[in-house]
């Protein structure tokens, strides 16, 4: 009754703080990725052996790595890999899941059963393990990492798409549409898709955060982005070897990763509250 108004009335900061903070962090990461060549003081690849393992200073704000590359520049450039992998992987998962989920939810029956059992199977694999096996099979490259991570997301999106499809199907106007002879394709396009997309897009933010973690995990293990290409994961991995002399090498890329993941998580939470205030705790 009064719930709707009670939640909606205070405008601005308090109500949308998750959206604001999340959006700000995500914008920061996106900006870093887009403007990397213009905002970084050094090239991420230029090495300078004379300057290796320098502590943070006025010339190198976040220090230099084991072969004298500027850590700040590499960290900023690494945002590109993370976002690229995130975008492609989430797109693969979203469209794969959408297709499977809507088909299963719309036609139901044996097809539904078979598809969803397969999804359940895929879902019960530990995600990182699945990604690792896929990488081992597909071969180590950043493109394969995108596909492998995308495949992991398919079951989650498929479940969500199926539930949302079934929810829409229970509405009486769908029966009405069928009665007046509207074709399946048209019902799917006009009624189902718009209603299914909202929860899927909200979920996409959370998946994006997870994609960033998975990409950096793979790169950390040497299965994702290959040196000298900077990625937060492989930077952290090299940095581990110099923790006594140069702890910033492990701290900085991890912090960047943390900011990116936090941003997408908050944005996801914020969007969920925004679209479904009743779900807000």
């Amino acid at each position: 009754m009064s719930g709707q108004n009670a939640v909606r009335s205070p405008s601005g900061w308090r109500r949308y703080r998750l959206l604001w903070v999340g959006g700000l962090l995500v914008a920061l990461v996106c900006l870093a990725a887009l403007c990397a060549p213009w905002v970084t003081p050094y090239s991420p690849y230029d090495l300078d052996v004379a300057d290796m393992l320098q502590a943070p200073s006025a010339t190198h704000w976040l220090g230099t790595d084991e072969i004298g590359r500027d850590v700040l520049s590499r960290t900023v450039f690494a945002a590109r890999i993370s976002l690229q992998v995130g975008l492609v992987a989430v797109a693969v998962g979203l469209f794969g899941g959408l297709l499977i989920g809507v088909v299963a939810g719309y036609w139901g029956g044996l097809l539904d059963l078979a598809l969803m059992r397969a999804m359940e199977l895929l879902f019960s694999f530990p995600a990182i393990l699945l990604a690792i096996v896929l990488m081992a099979v597909l071969g180590t490259s950043i493109l394969n990492a995108m596909v492998a991570i995308g495949i992991i997301f398919i079951p989650g999106f498929a479940r969500l798409a199926r539930v949302s499809t079934q929810k829409v199907l229970r509405q009486s106007y769908i029966d009405a549409a069928r009665t007046i002879g509207m074709a399946d394709a048209r019902i799917l396009q006009r009624e189902i898709l718009p209603n299914v997309m909202t929860p899927l897009l909200v979920e996409a933010m959370t998946a994006f955060a997870y994609a960033v973690i998975l990409e950096s995990s793979l790169s950390f293990l040497g299965l994702g982005a290959q040196p000298p290409e900077p990625s937060w994961g492989n930077m952290l991995s090299t940095g581990r070897g110099f923790m006594a002399q140069a702890p910033w090498l492990a701290i900085v890329p991890g912090a960047a990763l943390f900011v990116g993941v936090l941003g997408f998580n908050l944005l996801g939470d914020g969007l969920r509250d925004f679209f479904d205030p009743r779900m807000k705790d």
Binding site: L121, A136, D269
Partner: protein, 318 residues
């Protein structure tokens, strides 16, 4: 209850079979790759053909699969390409390390998540709740390997409280074993606790708003009796179902954590298998981890069912 166990088991066995099939196909789908991995990139086609014939790799895949499956069921996991030793004993030796790490991490995650989640739920929409939820959000955004790095920097190198890597079997030296596993388990457990805490809090908020909680208060019960005796078990039922999935994720993190802390478990064996392109090793270690995860999922699922009399008595009602 019996019915429930039968149904779950009936689903469990084919799941594992299909999993094994998928894994086997995935690893064997690239022709000649096994031979190349074993013989080196510049092996002659004749050498490859001979190698494949010796190992029976030139036969149809399904024949190979069933042969492999039959052997695996007898405990024969094949021979490593790399050093020509049987994989089975290696797996057996490494399994306890991984199990101990995962269980310890899961324990830590729950010790953080359950009390804090319940506490936050009881103080729903008050400052304590906001603070706990915010901390959970922050922890949830930390990748396990960064958490491990930070812990090593802090507890290992700066404070020198804990050794930063290595392994001693529990039987040899229990205290040292636990000291060595504490940091890896913390890295996994603290990160996993974030999601579990959010689930616990949400379930607890839902339960605390239900009528039977009001009944408990109406009887004059104090908040701690209400939470621990009336609300906890009801929250645990959905919590465990979701928690089982998180347990799977936690197991995936084991690969990285074992690598970082130099633990001789199944996770590091997976990496050995990948780096050496040693397919019998890779296939067996991944299969065993997956079976362990699925088994633990099953156990947790059944545990959730045992907690719920509506499911235990489901059959007698029909």
């Amino acid at each position: 209850m019996l019915r429930l166990i039968v149904v779950r088991l009936a689903w469990f066995v084919p799941t594992i079979l299909v999993t094994s099939m998928v894994l086997f196909l995935a690893v064997n789908v690239i022709p000649g790759s096994a031979a190349k991995a074993a013989l080196g990139i510049d092996a002659t086609p004749q050498a490859i053909a001979r190698f494949e014939h010796e190992l029976g790799l030139d036969r149809p895949l399904y024949v190979q699969y069933f042969e492999w499956l039959a052997k695996v069921l007898q405990g024969d996991f094949g021979t490593s390409f790399q050093n020509r030793v049987p994989v089975g004993p290696e797996i057996l030796a490494r399994l306890p390390v991984t199990l101990e790490l995962a269980l310890l991490a899961f324990l830590i995650a729950n010790l953080i998540a359950v009390p804090l989640g319940a506490f936050a739920a009881y103080h729903h929409q008050r400052p304590v709740d906001t603070v706990i939820s915010a901390i959970a959000t922050l922890f949830g955004a930390i990748p396990t390997f960064w958490m491990a790095t930070l812990l090593i920097l802090l507890l290992g190198m700066t404070l020198r409280w804990l050794p930063a890597g290595g392994y001693v079997p529990f039987a040899d030296n229990p205290a040292m074993n636990l000291r060595l596993l504490l940091m890896p388990a913390l890295s996994l457990g603290v990160v996993s606790s974030a999601l579990l805490l959010r689930i616990m809090r949400a379930e607890m908020i839902e339960v605390l708003s239900s009528d039977y909680i009001r009944t408990a208060f109406a009887k004059g019960a104090n908040p701690s009796i209400v939470i621990w005796k009336h609300a906890l078990r009801n929250s645990l039922i959905p919590f465990l179902t979701v928690g089982a999935v998180e347990f799977g994720w936690l197991f995936g993190g084991v690969v990285i954590i074992e690598d970082i802390f130099l633990l001789p478990g199944l996770g590091s064996l997976v990496l050995v298998g990948i780096i050496n392109r040693d397919y019998p090793v890779l296939l067996s270690s991944v299969l065993v981890i997956t079976v362990v995860v699925l088994t633990l999922n099953l156990v947790v699922d059944l545990l959730a069912a045992v907690l719920d009399p509506r499911q235990v008595y489901a059959r007698s009602e029909q």
